[in-house]
Amino acid sequence: MAEATTPETKEIDNAELHRNALGRNEKGGAPRKKNFFQRLFKGRERVSADAGEKNNWKAWLYLAPSIILLAVFTFYPLINTIVIAFLKDYDYVKQTNAGFTLDNFGTVLGLVGQTSSQVTVYRWQCYSSVVNGTTHWWFNSGSGAISEVYFQTDVIQYALPNTLIITFVTVPISIFISLLISIGLNSIKWFKKILQTIFFVPYVTNAIAVGMVFAVLFDYQGIINFIFHLGSTPWIDQAAPTWRAMIALCIYIIWHSLPFKILIFLSGLQNIDKQYYDAAKIDCAGKWRTMMNVTVPLLSPQILYIMITSFIASFKEYTSVVGLFGSPSTDGGGTKNMYTIVYYIYDQIKGNVGYGGAAAVLLFIVIMIFTAIQFQVSKKRVYY
């Protein structure tokens, strides 16, 4: 029986290999695996030998500590934060609010502003004028009184663009570099262990502490300027321009995010069957072709996992900014040009919680959308 099945399995493997090698999608091949939810609700598994139902209360007793803690510190906060995001002028010390509103979201996105006399107005009710290079917004209340309107632009002007730049610069670059490093590590014979350990070291460091080290490296009198003969170009302080500070920040984030990715890719590479490489060799595939058509497709589950986790992580970048700059700005606290979304949220906890809540909900939605897109894409591109 076993002899009869072995060649068959091999044949399927070869077919799959062939598909992968050609870089084609599976079509009419082996039946698709059940999706996540189908697997989830397939009913009770035959896990253990005990009678099931009678253990109900006991199981809940074992789960109780976790469930209670999660209820208080995860599920309730989740709902409560969404509620807070929709409350006007919520004050958590006095437990008061001024009713339901969408203005928090408007304020965060810079669409809702306030006049000097604390009247809430929308951007489309105002008109702008440029005085000495800065834009001022004005509101005509109708009775002839014109007052200036102030919009919060920290998120729209700094936090959102910065977060998007961090995400779309650091994620692809760090995935590419860590793929190269892990493929390199997987192919060598000598010093493999020690190199592997070296590449993992940044993972066990303190993000704030190493951020401070990078602040020394990128100081205007620091080693980076010295090595590259850049004079005393400011990177992170001395009111450095945002784009230059962004380069320093991205380099630091990539440096700090490599080890986890290398570890995951390496464990994925070690699980790839050697047969695939032998088959590729027989087909006279070169190193590059083998990498693109065998290694990368077979590593696609790990790549997907890393993509999702690092997208989420870079949307939540915060400690790296604190470590590198100490404050959300390059000039010591004036303009908040190094804000990220999460930095804004934390600043609002002790300011206006409603704004913080609204920003957190927006972040949550963005992360959900990105994760959903990646799962959709992965359906076509990931080979299991």
């Binding site: 009770r44 199981a59 789960l63 309730y76 704030i208 502490a209 986890f260 995951i264 470590g323």
Partner: protein, 357 residues
């Protein structure tokens, strides 16, 4: 089917060649045969030599060997270069901590301090309550780690071994919480902690007598972190690998679930539990946001990381890099020591995350 495809492609090729007035294969062959030199070749004296390009088999093998060596050299060069980049910040941290401020600020940067200065470390211990912060961090870290281990063991046992209604649904809900950004929770958790009856952040005093303000600050840094879905998932995977037969044998011996959990499952899952212990401890050592929030009013109860940032700047706001780096080393060294001694557990614990996706 295959043949038909081939014919079709040949047809297409011929068509394209005609289109661009190129000679087709048949025409070329006919031309060659018409050549008198071609007709004069004596095929009986021909010897078969395998050639690719201009090289024969031996040369080809040699070229392949050279290519392999060159490939290996390039790989090593790349890896060495990258590992230098990875290690350089550590090197710079160490030598900066031994330099004087004038040397750090000099135009000509030195790759080794001209005179090694240990006084930076002494300054750290004198002006910075390093040991207090380490003590705070250890208290918070160890208590929250033990709490996490207990809740994790219980929950993982329930998910891996017991059967109850709604098990898969609850497990899925727990896993889904891992996708939610923690910032959603931090806002409300801060409000929850700040509004507890025995806790008054604004004045910095405890309302009732049986808990001091210090206790409540510590409690707020510990209790919310007594549960971790990721570790529950990790341990459940480990528990599930333990064969059913052991459970049945324990049942035959009249052991209860409770005894089975502590006598069999926990010892067998010890490596994972050690991984969790170390990762959690490192997490507390590195935690910044939450302690920063709850200790705003009293900096004495901060954890190391919070104390580190923003310390050692002159009154003019200029950072004193030498002393800062000395403090940074003091924060980094314990982590590196943990890594050296528990490398296997740390890498296994972190790496396990990716295997099942």
């Amino acid at each position: 089917m295959e043949n038909a495809k081939k014919e079709k492609s040949v047809d297409t090729r011929n068509f394209i060649q005609k289109l661009f007035k190129m000679k087709t294969a048949q025409e070329k062959q006919a031309e060659r045969e018409a050549n008198p030199e071609y007709q004069a070749i004596d095929t009986s004296k021909m010897v078969l030599v395998i050639k690719e390009g201009r090289a024969n088999a031996a040369q080809l093998e040699k070229a392949q060997k050279v290519a392999r060596i060159v490939g290996t050299v390039i790989t090593y060069a790349f890896l060495l270069f990258m590992s230098l980049i990875v290690l350089f910040p550590f090197y710079w941290m160490i030598i900066t901590s031994l330099k004087s401020t004038t040397e750090i600020r000099s135009l000509h940067q030195t790759f080794f301090p001209t005179n090694v200065l240990w006084s930076n470390y002494i300054t750290v211990f004198n002006s910075f309550d390093f040991l207090t912060y380490v003590g705070n961090t250890l208290v918070v870290g160890i208590i929250s780690t033990i709490g996490t281990l207990i809740t994790t063991i219980f929950a993982a046992f329930a998910f891996a071994r017991l059967n109850f209604r709604g098990k898969n649904v609850i497990f899925a809900i727990l896993l889904a919480t891992m996708m939610i950004p923690g910032e959603m929770m931090v806002i409300t958790n801060y409000i929850t902690v700040a509004r507890l009856p025995w806790f008054e952040f604004s004045t910095g005093t405890a309302v009732t007598g049986w808990l001091t303000y210090k206790d409540s600050v510590f409690a707020s840094m510990i209790v919310p972190f007594w549960v971790s879905v990721f570790y529950i998932y990790l341990l459940r995977q480990n528990f599930k690998q333990i064969p059913n037969e052991l459970y049945l044998a324990a049942k035959v011996d009249g052991k209860s679930d409770w005894q089975y959990l502590w006598k069999v499952m926990v010892p067998l899952a010890a490596p994972t539990l050690i991984s969790i212990f170390i990762l959690k401890l490192m997490g507390t050592w590195n935690s910044y946001v939450w302690p920063q929030l709850v200790t705003t009013n009293n900096e004495k109860w901060r954890l190391v990381t919070n104390a580190l940032r923003g310390s050692f700047t002159t009154t003019a706001g200029e950072p004193q890099y030498g002393i800062q780096m000395a403090a940074t080393i003091l924060v980094t060294v314990p982590l590196l020591l943990l890594f050296i001694f528990f490398r296997k557990y740390i890498m296994r614990g972190v790496g396990r995350a990716g295997i099942k996706g």
